[in-house]
């Protein structure tokens, strides 16, 4: 059953894609036709022999001009008009029986007193093709058996979409699709352009490495460290006697004066928080010292749930199951992620090392931002990153001395959102892929959108999953990934808005 419905769905999606393309072509053709007719220059009529060598638009113009204005002709009269001409009943001195219409288009032109008629036809065709396009996007074009079952739902969705899409196109889409300075203008602490000269600073001398069972001090008490929860490039995260807290101990080589200065800055600052239904940002709460009184790391609140990496695996669509399965959960996680990152951006903080291991997601889809000590605040850089989240301009740079920009953060966040919405697949994966870094550098975003071809999309279900995303979400991804998009990427706040409406 599963495989049968999966195949059926594959066919549907391809059909939708084809219908969508046809609809857009039709729309374009109708638009051009109406513009052509509307823009016809009023010219005086010339001889028949001359007319045969003229462009067709001039022929239309002459044919229309040649007619005595009103009587307006009905559609029926128009249809029989060529026959009438052929039968030797000239309608005007210039339209004799030796001038049969040159094409169906000319016949239509002859049938109407002016270009306004064709403009009307164009407008009707435009509306119809627009409806078809929206229907294709709303999954209306399905085999009859399924369409019968879901017809009512889809019709209402189509109507809803019609209204919403027009609204979006006029207001929020402008923000999604065009680069704006909105996020920058919202910053409380302006983003700095020069890194702090004292970062990363010099290593702090410590006597020995600490591990489980060691005694550390934070707040006003001593605590015994528990087991290691995770180990990263900068240090280890350990349990402590308080189950709601975790301690991060830096490795001796990363335990530097610059990092302590950054932590003290964070502890002094008024840091943004998330609403409880979105999640939580696990900010550093206090510095951690060893028994000698030497600084070793910091304490933070424990996040709930599992790493986004494994959550993506659970929500991954498969060929064996309908693509819509878990789609709502994927959208909820993406929405919460975008909201959380937008909250940081609003106060001029960049997450920097955005990746699928720095977010925890609980059963309700709430997100917990961890590894917050690596965020880029004020002039303190975010020194680590995973290359598959870095835009081409930051690949192979030493991030300890380079500050990220909102633009590069938008790229990283869009990669993260793409992997969430698509069940873990990287946006630049395509036929003939190389490593993620090289794929990003190539700037080839392989998925279809409007006139963009999807020929390089990776094999399997990924193109179908892509086509299930809402139109404006797809448009924003294309805007972020296709070609050299530096400086043109949509702000994360617009993503949060677009996803909230999806």
């Amino acid at each position: 059953m599963g495989s049968a419905s999966g195949l059926l769905l594959d066919r549907d999606v391809h059909r939708q894609a084809r219908a969508g393309q046809v609809a857009w072509l039709g729309l374009l053709a109708a638009f051009m036709l109406s513009v052509a007719c509307h823009a016809m220059p009023p010219s005086s009529s010339k001889g028949r022999a001359e007319a045969t060598t003229k462009p067709i638009i001039r022929i239309f113009a002459e044919a229309v001009e040649a007619r005595e204005l009103p009587p307006p002709l009905s559609r029926t009269q128009g249809n029989i008009q060529p026959n009438a001409s052929a039968a030797g009943e000239p309608l005007s001195p210039h339209c004799d029986n030796q001038s049969p219409p040159h094409s169906a288009m000319e016949a239509i032109a002859l049938a109407f007193p002016s270009g306004w008629g064709l403009l009307f036809i164009g407008a009707v065709a435009l509306a119809l093709t627009g409806l078809v396009a929206i229907a294709a996007d709303c999954h209306l074009l399905r085999p009859p058996a399924r369409a019968l079952q879901t017809c009512g739902h889809h019709v209402s969705t189509a109507c809803e979409h019609l209204g919403i899409e027009v609204q979006r196109m006029l207001s929020s889409a402008r923000r999604v699709l065009s680069p704006t300075r909105r996020a920058e203008s919202l910053t409380v602490h302006p983003l700095q352009l020069t890194p702090d000269p004292e970062f990363p600073g010099v290593p702090v001398l410590v006597r020995c490495t600490l591990g489980p069972g060691a005694v550390v001090r934070y707040g006003r008490k001593s605590h015994v460290l528990g087991s290691v929860v995770n180990s990263g490039g900068e240090g280890e995260i350990l349990n402590t006697s308080d189950p709601t807290l975790l301690v991060k101990l830096y490795f001796p080589q990363t335990l530097t004066t610059g990092r302590r200065k950054k932590l003290e800055y964070l502890l002094r600052s008024k840091l943004p928080q998330l609403p409880a239904n979105i999640g939580e940002i696990c900010w550093p709460l206090d510095l951690v010292f060893d028994e000698d009184g030497a600084w070793r790391g910091f304490v933070m609140r424990r996040g709930k749930g599992d790493q986004l990496f494994s959550v993506n695996k659970r929500l991954k669509p498969t060929r064996a199951t309908p693509l819509e399965r878990h789609a709502a959960a994927r959208f909820q996680v993406a929405r919460n992620l975008a909201t959380a990152v937008a909250t940081l951006h609003r106060v001029g903080i960049l997450a920097g090392d955005l990746n699928d291991e720095n977010f925890l997601v609980d059963g309700a889809g709430r997100v917990f931002l961890i590894d917050t000590d690596s965020y880029q605040v004020a002039g303190f850089p975010s020194p680590v990153a995973r290359a598959e989240y870095l835009p081409a301009e930051l690949q192979n740079k030493n991030l300890e001395h380079v500050l990220r920009t909102l633009d590069s953060e938008r790229f990283a966040c869009a990669v993260l959102l793409f992997t969430v919405l698509m069940g873990g697949v990287h946006p630049f994966r395509r036929k003939g892929s190389s490593t993620p870094q090289r794929d990003i550098a190539s700037g080839i975003f392989p998925y279809p959108h409007l006139w963009r071809s999807g020929a390089k999309a990776p094999a399997g279900i990924w193109k179908d999953v892509w086509l299930t995303l809402p139109f404006f979400v797809r448009a924003a991804f294309v805007r972020t990934f296709a070609g050299n998009t530096r400086g043109k990427r949509p702000p994360i706040e617009a993503w949060a808005t677009a996803l909230a409406r999806s």
Binding site: G233, N277, R314, G363, E400, V425
Partner: protein
């Protein structure tokens, strides 16, 4: 309709029902943050679907793939080390399997050479190679064990088979549109080659320089022609091991390296 797929779907549905119960129980314990959003429903399934994710379909894999190929000399002279070689390759697979990212990224194959050369075990994802009990705990690997029975050492043929195997896999990644990381080739041998190796070794070193391969040549015992091993990989000195314990330790270090490459090779500039 494939019966396997039916079974996994049924298991999936059952799992979902169970996980919703689990998550509801969890959420009841979280009074601190859940009070304000009682209306929020649990939407994320709590447990990973191992049986669905261990798919042989390349197109359904989401991570970049890293092929790891063991090229093992199975001439009779290596017999004293065969048990340790088998055990250490299994331990290597288990070590990768215990890392959540490496088990998605790495694929393992074994090529053996002795009188001739053949693909003893084709490329399979580490996740697919893990043997699980009813509770989903890892209890072993599905890698087959090889024996040392050959009289000759057809190393040239073995390397040729390896290069073809890796090339074919990389081509399959291309066709499926899967991103690929540099392949790992680990060569174990205990003697000199009995066939022509110059051409294939040259080709191998060329691919190492092109960034397609990492080659780790390992000499087992003291009778090995080190010049050939050195020529295979211009970037990596051959390692000599003389006991089973050393083989186990070496592969342990190698698994840590592969884990680091699968998870952190893509991380740039972690401190300086």
């Amino acid at each position: 309709m494939r019966p396997g797929r039916q079974r996994s779907l049924a298991a999936d549905n059952e799992q979902e029902t169970r996980t919703v119960r689990v998550s509801l129980r969890n959420s009841n314990q979280d009074h601190s943050t859940m009070n304000s959003d009682k209306a929020v429903q649990d939407v994320i399934p709590q447990e990973e679907r191992l049986e669905l994710d261990a798919s042989t379909d390349l197109t359904e894999r989401t991570e970049a793939q890293m092929p790891v190929c063991f090229v093992v000399d199975v001439s009779g002279s290596i017999a004293p080390y065969v048990a340790d070689l088998n055990a250490s390759i299994s331990a290597f697979c288990l070590a990768l399997g215990s890392n959540h990212r490496a088990k998605e990224v790495a694929e393992i194959a074994i090529v053996t050479f002795g009188d001739g050369a053949s693909v003893f075990s084709p490329f399979r994802s580490v996740k697919e190679l893990l043997e699980l009990d009813e509770r989903g705990q890892i209890v072993g690997t599905k890698l087959p064990a090889f024996d040392a029975v050959g009289r000759r050492t057809a190393m040239g043929q073995g390397l040729r088979v390896t290069l073809d195997l890796v090339d074919r896999r990389r081509k399959e990644y291309d066709d499926a549109g899967v991103q690929k990381l540099t392949a790992f080739v680990v060569v174990f041998t205990d003697g000199g080659a009995t066939d022509e190796t110059a051409a294939v070794v040259k080709e191998m070193s060329k691919r190492v320089l092109a960034g397609h391969l990492h080659v780790f040549p390992i000499a087992v015992g003291g009778q090995v022609d080190m010049a050939v091993l050195k020529a295979m990989s211009p970037q990596q000195e051959p390692t000599r091991v003389v006991s089973g314990t050393e083989i186990v330790e070496l592969l342990d270090r190698l698994s840590a390296k592969v884990i680091k490459l699968s998870a952190k090779a893509v991380t740039t500039n972690q401190g300086s």
